[in-house]
Amino acid sequence: MTKVSTVPRPNSLVSILAGAALLLAALAVGVITVSQVAQGPADSSLNVLRRWCPFILQGFMLNILMSVIAMILATISGVVLGFMQISHLAIVRQPARFVTHVFRNSPWLVILFAIMLMVPFEITLPYFGLVMIPGWVKATIGFTLPVMANIAEILRGAVASIPTGQWESAESLAFSRMQTMRHVILPQCVRRMLPSWMNWFALLTLMTPIAAILGVNEALGNTQAAMEAAGSSPDLLIPFYLFLMCIFFIFIYPVSVWTKRLERRFSTT
C-alpha cells in the first residue's frame, strides 16, 4: 500500500529531543525570570530549589515505590479477575464483571478516598497485635484497584482477540480447556498485553501524586511542604512545580517511548 501523504510523521527521537528541550527551556526561562523579579534581599528561587531538591527527590522515591508495588499487586489480582471474567460458571463470572465495571468506571481520586477513609488506620492481627497501617500502604491499595480492573479487561480482550480457529484446532488435538489456555492462548496473550500493561504502569505512576491530597509524603506533598518551609513566596511556585514535572517526565518518558515501539512492532508482525 502506498502512502499519498508526504508529511513525515515525527519519529520518537525527534519528540524525545522536542519534549526534553522544551521542558528544560521552559524551566530555565521560568527560573531566570522569577529570579530576576526576586532580586531582593531574599534568596533566589533557584538556590531555594537546589536546597530542597533532595527532599523532593526523596518523596519521588515513594512515588516509584508505590507505583511498583501497586503494579505488582494489580497484575496478580488483575490476571485472577480476568480469568474469573471468562469463566464458564455464571456465579464466578458475574461478580468478577461487576467488580471490574465498578473499578474501571470510577475516578482514581474517588477510589483513593474510599480506601483511605474506610480502611481503618490500625488493625489487630492474630500474632502481631495492634498494627498501624501507614498512609502510603493504603494509598498503594487504592491505586491497585483501578489498575487491577483494567488489567482484567485487557486480559479478557486479549483472550477474545485470539481467533476461534485456534480454540477449535486445539480441541481437535484433544486439548482440554485448561490445556488450550495454558499452551495455546496465553503465550499469545502475553505479547498482545505487554504494550497496554506498560501504558497502565505509566498512567499509574502519573496518578500517584494525588496521594498528597490525603497527606502521604510523596513528591507533590514534599514539594508543597518545601515551598511552605521556604516562606511560601509566590515566586517559588513556577520553578518548583516545573521541577516536579521534569522529574516525572524523565522517569515516564522512556517508558512511553518503549511502549510505543513495542506497539508498532507487535502491530506489524
Partner: protein
C-alpha cells in the same frame, strides 16, 4: 421533589442507620446540587476544549512547517508524561499568580477562576491524547481511497474535507470514546484547586456528617452513570455514522 424524598430518607436512617444527609437536609441537598451542576458543566467544557485542542493539534501536525510539527510533538510529549495533578496545580498556582486581578467593585478577583483553570488545564491535558487519536484516524484512511479521489480530480483540500475527514472521524471514534470517558473521570482531580464539583461537594458533606460510606456509594453511582451516558452517546454516534462495509 425534595419534600417528597426527605421523609423517605429520614425513615431509612432511623431504620438502618444509613445517613444520606443530602436527601433530607436542605443545606446538604443544595451542596449536592451545586456539585452535580458544576461537575457536569466542568465535564462538558473540558471535553469540548479537549476536542478543539485535539483537532487543532492534528491539523498542525500535518503542516509543512517543521517548527510547528516540532512544537506539537513537544506539547504531546510534555502533557502525556507529567502528572495531571501537577499540571493543574502549575496552571492554577503558577500561571494563576501571573494573571491580572479584576476590580469587582471593592474587592479583587483573579481574571480566571479555579473553574476556568480546571477547564484550561484538563482540556489541554486531554487534548494531548486526542491529537494522537485524530492523527491515527487520518493515517488509517487507505491510500487507495485518496488515489481514487485524486483520479476524480479532487484538489488536495477537497480530498481532505470530503474524503479524509469523514473517514478519519469514523476510524477514530472508538479510541475517542474511551479517551473522553477517562477524561470525564479525571475531572474529579479539580478537587485539588477547590472547584466545587461532585467529589469536592460530597467531601464537604462527609466532613460534616461523617457519613463517608454512604457518600462514597453516591460518588461511585454518580461517576458510573456519567461514564455510562458518555459511552451510550458515543455508541449511538458510532452507529449513526457507520458506513456499510467500512472497517471490518
Amino acid at each position: 421533589m425534595f419534600e417528597f424524598i426527605a421523609p423517605l430518607f429520614l425513615a431509612l436512617q432511623k431504620a438502618t442507620g444509613l445517613n444520606f444527609s443530602p436527601f433530607y437536609n436542605e443545606y446538604d441537598f443544595s451542596r449536592l446540587m451545586t456539585g452535580v451542576q458544576t461537575s457536569l458543566l466542568l465535564i462538558v467544557c473540558v471535553l469540548i476544549v479537549s476536542l478543539i485542542v485535539g483537532l487543532l493539534g492534528a491539523a498542525a501536525q500535518r503542516s509543512q512547517f517543521r517548527v510547528l510539527r516540532f512544537l506539537v510533538a513537544a506539547y504531546i510529549a510534555m502533557f502525556r508524561n507529567t502528572p495531571p495533578v501537577v499540571q493543574l496545580l502549575f496552571f492554577y498556582f503558577g500561571l494563576g499568580a501571573l494573571t491580572p486581578q479584576v476590580d469587582m467593585g471593592g474587592w479583587y478577583e483573579p481574571m480566571i477562576s479555579s473553574f476556568g483553570w480546571a477547564v484550561i488545564a484538563l482540556g489541554i491535558f486531554g487534548g494531548s491524547y486526542n491529537v494522537e487519536i485524530f492523527r491515527a484516524g487520518i493515517e488509517a484512511v487507505p491510500g487507495t481511497t485518496l488515489e481514487a479521489s485524486e483520479a476524480l480530480a479532487f484538489s488536495p483540500v477537497q480530498t481532505f474535507i470530503h474524503v479524509t475527514m469523514p473517514l478519519a472521524l469514523r476510524f477514530s471514534l472508538p479510541a475517542l470514546a474511551s479517551n473522553l470517558i477517562s477524561l470525564a473521570k479525571t475531572t474529579s482531580i479539580a478537587y485539588v484547586i477547590a472547584v466545587p464539583e461532585m467529589t469536592y461537594a460530597l467531601s464537604g458533606v462527609w466532613n460534616d456528617s461523617l457519613n463517608v460510606g454512604e457518600m462514597m456509594m453516591l460518588l461511585f453511582i454518580y461517576y458510573i452513570s456519567v461514564v455510562a451516558v458518555i459511552g451510550a452517546i458515543m455508541g449511538r454516534l458510532e452507529k449513526r455514522l457507520a458506513v456499510p462495509g467500512l472497517g471490518k
